[in-house]
Every structure is written in C-alpha cells, then in structure tokens.
Symmetry: C2
Subunit: 268 residues, 2 copies
C-alpha cells in the first residue's frame, strides 16, 4: 500500500455485512456477539487499509488491545438483512485511540451506534506503545487519519460498576473455538457467554438496548471463566467475568459487562 | 419472485464470503464450523432464490432438515481471504435431495468440496414431505432445478460408524448461542463442540482433511450434550453425540461425526 493510496482513502470506512440466517437466533435477529465481531472486523479492515492492521503490526511485535466497547442498538439486523458498519477514529491520545461506529441498514437508516477505546502494546514487553511513534507506510501516523467532526449521540463506554455481591451465574470452560487470531479468548466470546446466562425463552421477550464491556485482562483457551451477575435496575444487568487457568491459584478479573435491555412487544 | 425470474436463474448458485479475521482461529485459518455455516447459508440462499427457502416454507409448516454432510478441504480459507461457495442440487428423490458444493478461492482454484443430504418435514406432524408435492412460485417443483451433469470427485457422506467403546470426552451444556433460526441446536455447533475436544496446541499441528456428519435427532437449548470419541485410525477420529434434556431419563443420540486430519508441516 503506498502513502498516496492510503492517504487518499476517506477517513470514514464503510463495510457491508450480511446477517446470514445461520448467524441469527431463534427470533431471526443477528446474535449480538456476531454484530460485535462485525464491528471488530470493520475496525480491523479500516486500520489494515491505512497501514495499522494487526497483521502488519505483528512483524513489529505490536498489537491492538481493545480496552472498552459500547454498542447501542435501536434495531438489530434480521436474517437476510444487509447492513453497513461505518467506522472512523475521532481522536487519538498518546496511549489510546477511540473509534466510532454507525450501523446502518440497506436504506441508510441508522440501526445503532458504537464506540470503542483501543491501546497498542508491545507483544514482547506487554508495555503500552506511544502511538505517535507508530508509523504506517511512508511515515504516516495515526494522527493522519483522524476524523473529529463526525460525532455520535450516545455516551462513551462506561467503566462498568458491578456490585460486590454479584452472584455466580455460570462456570464456563473455554476451548479452541473461543480463541481469536491472537491466540487469546475472542472479546466477543465473553459477551456470548454472558448472554448465555439467559435462556431462549427470556430472549423472546428481551432485546439489548445498550451493551458496555470493559476489558481488563486476557484469557486463554482452557481457562475456566466464572460469570458473576447482578440485576442493578429493572432493565439493567451487570456482570464480572474472571478467569482461572490450571496453574493459577486465584481468579483474575478479565472483564466487566453491563447490559440494558428493552422488553419486546408480544410476538406470539 | 416470479416464475420467470426464478426459472431463469442458473442452476448453480455462487455465493461469496469473506474469511473475516475474527472468524479465524489462532493459526489464521477460518474455523471449520464457520465454513460449514457458509455452506448452510449458501444452501439457504440457493433454495430461497428458487422459492424453496426456509422462510417461505415456514408459512406452509414445513422445513428442511439436514440429514448428512461431508466436507473435504485441500486448503482452508485464511484471514482476509475471499472465497466462493458454488452449490447445486444434482438429484432429488421422493423424500431426499442431495446438494453439492465447491469452495473456490478468489482466483477460482478449488479449495474443497462438499455434499449434503436433506429431507423436508412437516413441522406439525414431524413426518417427511413428498418433495414432488412441494411447489415453489408458479407451480415449479424442485425437479425444475436439478443439475445432474456437474459431479464431484469426493465420495458421498458416510453413515459414520462409531466404536461401541468410544469414551466420554466432554459434557457440554447448550445455551442460547447454540440455537439457530428454527430454535434447534445449530448443526454446526455440534461440529464446534467436537473440535473443542482437541486443544489449541493440537490444532497447530493438525488440519481437517475430511469431515462427515450424520444427523439423527434434534436438540434444544438447555440440553446437555455428551461427546463420546475414539481414534479409529492414525489420522481418523469418530464421535457420537447424545443429548439429555432435563425431563429425559436417558441419553438420545443426536449425531455421529468422523474427522480425518492431516499433519501440518512444522510452522514454528
């Protein structure tokens, strides 16, 4: 990719996905973990095209780490729907960038929005990397790709507070299918395991209005995850996830998650 | 969809997918369960466009049931690869149709092939439906869409024999994320749970050469799955999966699966 071609790209990237029926739940709505993966994939495509993708960073022993993510959905894509994820980087600080998302349907109507916060780390020292020192092709930096003028109406990702007395809801052993290309547990798998704390009957009557995830530490395939949850308001549930590897004496917090739901109108 | 438009469609449907990085494993290869879902999605698109899709059948209280599936892969799509699934119906009998697949890369080179066998059932009586009596739009039947001339080099899906002394490998509780739009456990989730019997280290050294799945009964979210496995040849593993719902006294066989692997060349 030449400097010219990546600098001539629009600041906002648009990536179109299909809500394929076998990625949808029993209410014909796209699984939220798949929508989250679509946002992560859009993030990766957008940074990849501009010279800051994970595959290029790998050679420099660096990678992106997702720190926080919030998604607000007015309407989920349904089976067979085409939807587009628009993404851009509104701001970047020394050690963090934020990334915004709009999810629009085939007619261009907004279905939802999202915000994420990312850090870059050195994969050998595990230390944060100064983003000003990271060059794409031909000496561009991330600062060349900022789009501060497009804003969202949602509030930023929350730190997520979970009551100390949250109860153990599930114990989940992680496996091969939980990993991502980095060899860690895929961020959206935490969300999938949290949503599995509710049964299919419950999901007939509830949809996710907003989801916040604060990522704290990584987990690896084989680790046992424990999910502690509490209902903190009539339509709000908060979760703390811990990992425990075979060689670990104590649980380690890996992420916290808050979900605000809305009641579906009766469909049956 | 008018008769004219569906009858004027080519007999072979081609559907292009992306091996998005967050659908790939730690070796950067697409998860086999996702490839299988892509084949199922291609099947659904192909039948949908020709008037025999699940969403149209639902109104007639009918649905497709996957009976057997075999996939042979020479090479798996890797992260960022585009791949195309070609699918067609070579033959249809009174109560079964087969469906063929070719998976080709962006240059048109064959990466793998597949075969599946499907029945249609009445969702109220659970009885098989005579396919000659099922009409698409404007009185077409499935027999209008057969393409018997394109053959594959692979052998048909096997019934899968599993040794009686296969050992219990895993017990898996199924959840919301395991269901498909029919409300049953997604066929490819059985495959995912089987592949999870091997750890990430093992998957660095092995790739799937061929996978056969024989589906016997349905399972529902909340059912406990038990996976019994045996190594039947140096590179062949066979599995029997059973379900047990809370109200079931005994295990019920849900599917059998055979996996032939090849050893990867050393990559590290």
């Amino acid at each position: 990719m030449s400097n010219q071609s990546s600098l001539s790209l629009p600041l906002v990237g648009s990536y179109t996905f299909q809500a394929r029926p076998f990625l949808c739940d029993h209410t014909f709505q796209l699984f939220m973990a798949h929508l989250g993966n679509a946002l992560l994939n859009a993030s990766d495509y957008h940074s990849h095209e501009r010279g800051f993708g994970v595959s290029r960073l790998q050679a420099q022993h660096r990678t992106w780490v997702l720190s926080r993510l919030a998604i607000e959905m007015e309407q989920m894509p349904r089976a067979y729907d085409t939807y587009t994820v628009e993404t851009w980087v509104p701001t970047a600080k020394r050690f963090f960038t934020s990334r915004f998302y709009r999810v629009v349907d085939a007619q261009g109507k907004m279905m939802g929005q999202g915000q994420s916060i990312w850090a870059m780390i050195d994969t050998e020292t595990r230390q944060p990397v100064d983003l000003n020192a990271v060059s794409g092709e031909n000496d561009t930096t991330i600062m060349n790709y900022l789009e501060p003028s497009r804003q969202l109406t949602m509030s930023p990702p929350s730190r997520v507070a979970v009551p100390a007395d949250a109860e153990l809801k599930e114990e989940v052993k992680t496996h091969y299918s939980d990993v991502d290309i980095n060899g860690h547990i895929n961020s959206m798998k935490y969300v999938e395991h949290v949503l599995n704390c509710f049964d299919t009957q419950w999901w007939r009557h509830h949809s996710i209005a907003r989801l916040d995830v604060a990522f704290v530490a990584e987990a690896h395939a084989g680790d046992c995850l424990r999910i502690y949850g509490a209902q903190t308001a009539p339509l709000t549930h908060a979760f703390r996830l811990t990992r425990q590897a075979d060689n670990e004496e104590h649980e380690v917090e890996v992420c916290r998650c808050e979900m605000v739901v809305r009641m579906n109108e009766e469909t049956e």
